[in-house]
Structure formats: C-alpha cells, structure tokens
C-alpha cells in the first residue's frame, strides 16, 4: 500500500530512519530477529520503544497475541454477558425463590430463598420493601443479549474447531493432560514465578483447563438451562427439559452457573490486572503488536 502511495506521489515513508537496515525489527518471533544479538530487556513497559521499530515501510508480518476473530468475539461476549447478568438479576428479584423439579411457586416449599426483597408483591419475602419492577426491559434485553452470545459462540466455536484454535491453544498439550501438570503450574502461580517462554504465545495448562471448562461446559450449560425455561422451545425439544431435570431445576442451575461465570470473570480480570493490565488490554483490543511484547 505504501509503495503504491509513493509511486503515485501521494506520500513518503513516514520514518526514514526506520528503513535503514540497522533499524529493522528486533522483536523476537518476527522475521529478521537474531537471538544471538545482544538484547537488553527494557523496563516493564518497554513496549513503546519496540513499537516505533515496527513502523518500517515494509511491514514484517506481525504475529499478534490474539487473532482478530478472538478479539471481536471476546468483546461481543463481554458485552452480552454483562447485559445478561444485569438483566438476569433484575428478572430474578421478581421471584427470589428457587426450587428443584418441574414446578415451583409460592404455595410450595422452596429449595432456598435469597434473603432479599422481591419486585412483586405476590412473593412473601418477610421484607416490608419492594424493588421497583423492571422485568419488561430486562426480559427484552436478556433475550437480545442471549442471541448475541449464542451467535458469537457459534462463530467462535466453528472457527475454533476448523482453524485448530481449540487444538492448539485450549486443549492442554500432550504430556500436560494430568493432575501433576496442573498442580505444578498452580504451585508456580503461588510462588509467583515468572511465566515460561512458551507461555508468551499461548496458554499454560491451568489457563487451558479453565478456558476448556468455561467454553465447553459453563457456557453451553447456561445456554441450555436458559432454553429449558422457554415454554415454546421446550415444546419443540422436550429432551432439553428432561436433561436439565425440569423447568425449576433448570432455573436454579441457571442461577448457579451465572455465579460460576461471574467468579471466573473476577479471577480472569484479577489475573490480567496482576500480569499487566494495559499490556493485556492492548493484546485483546488492538492486538498489542508482536508476541514478543508479551511477558517481557
């Protein structure tokens, strides 16, 4: 593109220094990187100096930490998940009682009750207070966000299978599919040891197991238990309700799964904050430059 622009007199290379051989990209993992060269790791946020080097007119192919499809589906999931949590909690306060089995109502004994007031006066909560009723827009938003989540999950899931993303980055590597690998990585975290070289480009065994559980168990389960509450969907696919153990069981599990995903999100964000929040944020938004920037 830039060569085209120069030929047509539309512009000039922005940085002449950058085109001199001495200034070619020094990032590890990119073409032209010579590991025998003396490489002085900069301070913790040295990425800015490295970034300038990438502005050479002939851009070497930069290996981004996260592929663009991962970054887009990640943030669509974040937006949908937050909308689902907010609207879901709004919906739940209209009947903060939970049951097992197919049916449950105020004439039945609940499995447990949230110790909070309700947004409807038909529910005996023992409180002399009633939340404002926000079920209308909450339900609209909940199902719209659910569509965003499900469609995003489909795109990500199909791509992950076809591209080998799951095989390469999510399923634990051969030799680490055992408890001792998980425990030894956990011990490393507890010692606060620096990450391995390998972890620059992909995930360690603990991250892989966590993402495996989140992607292939928690999200599918929360979607299925959600669908198991829909009268028309269950009419069309009665097996869903049977698998979930009845409508009220599905509702109770949906509630627990929400909290497990919230717990995941808190730990996920905490780990990012500990390992360098803005660097990680750049990696998952604009792509964050080369893999070399990571964990440096």
């Amino acid at each position: 593109m830039q060569e085209w622009a120069i030929r047509h007199g539309r512009g000039r290379p922005r940085d002449n220094r950058a085109s001199t051989p001495a200034n070619t990209n020094h990032s590890p993992g990119t073409p032209g990187w010579n590991p025998t060269q003396t490489y002085v790791p900069g301070p913790r946020f040295s990425c800015y100096s490295l970034r300038v080097a990438t502005l050479s007119p002939v851009k070497p192919k930069i290996e981004r930490r996260h592929k663009v499809i991962v970054r887009v589906t990640h943030w669509l999931t974040v937006v949908a998940f937050l909308a689902l949590v907010v609207s879901g909690l709004e919906i739940v306060i209209s009947h903060p009682r939970f049951y097992w089995g197919e049916v449950g109502n105020v004439n039945m004994k609940p499995a447990f009750t949230l110790p909070i007031p309700a947004s409807r006066d038909t529910v005996p909560t023992g409180y002399n207070y009633q939340w404002p009723d926000q079920n209308g827009w909450s339900r609209y938003l909940h199902f719209e966000a659910a569509w965003v989540l499900v469609l995003t999950a489909l795109v990500y899931g199909v791509w992950g299978l076809v591209s080998g993303h799951f095989r390469r980055n999510i399923i634990p590597v051969r030799g680490e599919r055992n408890w001792s690998a998980v425990l030894s990585r956990m011990a490393k975290y507890l010692r606060r040891a620096p990450p391995d070289k390998r972890e620059e480009k992909s995930y360690n065994v603990l991250q892989r197991v966590t993402y495996l559980v989140v992607i292939f168990m928690l999200f599918p389960a929360i979607i299925l238990t959600g669908l198991a509450m829909s009268p028309s969907f269950v009419g069309a696919f009665p097996a869903i309700a049977l698998i979930a153990g009845g409508k009220q069981t599905a509702r109770t599990l949906h509630f627990f799964l929400t909290w497990s995903l919230i717990a995941f999100m808190i730990v996920h964000v905490a780990m990012i904050a500990i390992s360098g929040f803005w660097r990680r944020m750049r990696a998952i938004t604009i792509g964050g430059g080369s893999a070399a920037e990571e964990d440096r």
């Binding site: 593109m1 830039q2 085209w4 622009a5 539309r10 919906i91 739940v92 209209s94 009947h95 009682r97 197919e102 049916v103 449950g104 109502n105 105020v106 004439n107 039945m108 409807r120 006066d121 038909t122 529910v123 079920n135 209308g136 827009w137 339900r139 609209y140 938003l141 199902f143 719209e144 966000a145 659910a146 569509w147 509450m229 829909s230 009268p231 028309s232 969907f233 269950v234 009419g235 069309a236 009665p238 309700a241 409508k247 009220q248 509702r251």
Partner: protein
Amino acid sequence: MSLISRRRLITTGLATAAGATGLGVAAKLSRKYGLVPPDCKGVYGAGETLTYGAERLFARHAMAREFPRSMICEKPFANEIAPPTDAFKRMQARNFVDWRLTIDGLVEHPMTLSLADLKTMPVHSQITEVSCEEGWSHIAEWIGTPLSNVLNEAGLKPGVRYIYYRAVEPYLWETIDVDEAMHPQTLLTMGMNDGDLPVGFGGPLRLRLPRQLGYKSLKFVIHITAVDSVKNIGKGLGSIDPEAGYSWYAGI
C-alpha cells in the same frame, strides 16, 4: 494508512450492495411468512424478531409438553387479579349465565356465544404447565374447547393474520398470530382440574396458550376479533404487553 485501492473499493461496494439486497429480500420474505413480530422496532426489536422468527420457522406447530395426572399441583397458585367490577360480580352471582363471547371482525359469520353454547362444542382437556415470566410455574388440567373450533365455525376470511382478544376489563387486550390461534392446544378454558374454572384462574372463560408465558393467557375473555393487521389497535404494537414494556411474543 487510509488509502483505498480501486479493487478494494469495488469489492467492498459489491459486497455492501449484495448484503443490502440480501437483507431487503430477507425482510420481505420474513414478513410474507409471518416471522416479524409487531414489536420489531426499537432497541430490542432485533432480538425479539430473532426469537419470534426462529420459533415460527422451526417450531410453528410444535406442541407444548403435556404431563401425567400425577404431576398436577395440589395447590396451584392463582396470580393476583384486578378487583372485579360490579357488573362482573352481578354475573358471578347468576353463575355467569349472562356471560357472552363475541366473535367478529374478518369472519363469515359473526356470532355471540354463551358459556352453554361453548360447552356444546367438542371438549378438549390438557394437563399443561403455567409458566410465569417471574419464574414460578404450576401444572393443572385445563378443560374447554380449542379456539380453532370457534374460529372455524365463524369462518375466517382470507387475509386474517391476527386474532385479537379482550378481557371484560376493556384495557386488557392481546393479539396472537393465526398459527397460535389455530394451534390445537390454544384452549378457550372453562374448567380446571375436574371443576369449573375458578375466578382466580380466569373463570368463567380464559384463553390458555400453553406454548407461551402466563401473561398471554388472558383471563375473563369476552371478545374475539379476526384482523388483518394490528397497526390500528392501541399503539399498533400488538398488545398491551409492549405498551407496558413486555414482549408481544411470550414463547420464551
């Protein structure tokens, strides 16, 4: 870098044109096959259209689950109802012999039926679940005559797309599409668990739609009208639900 090559411009242009045309055709087909709900506009319109469209595309004729008699709830929960009017109380005192159901609109034979008339029609009973949008549910046996019997008797004219139904309180009204109205489980309910339908559950006449949430199953039904459009009813959103912020289609 903001320069755009000619090839890029042409491909992007063609792709956009193809996408726009595709969307236009999809919208037209969706409308033709009844996949677009009346509350398809606004911030939540897209999600609502996907939900309703997907259900109508893949499960238009699916049946709501029916349960064994052993699963009928001993103490079903009657949701709160508006305090009955004096006129209602007078009819209740006379055991609802004056209750009339009017069927009009785009029908060959407009008619007015008493409960006795309705009871001469083929009786159907179903053990289905009431699911409230709040989250609670209960199972009961519901006895009555399918709405399709009444609509067939009245004779729907071509072009009917929605069935409007209204409660004895004039401000409580709903519409459903014709598929939902003609569905075999859409029941003009007069009995519950081997007795008359109690007032608390919508007696003497409730339109039960087991494939949708409880709020679509209007209690105290007195008027049914066949219409070709919902644009001129209320705010044109299909029922009082979207006017109060709830979705028109309640199959979810």
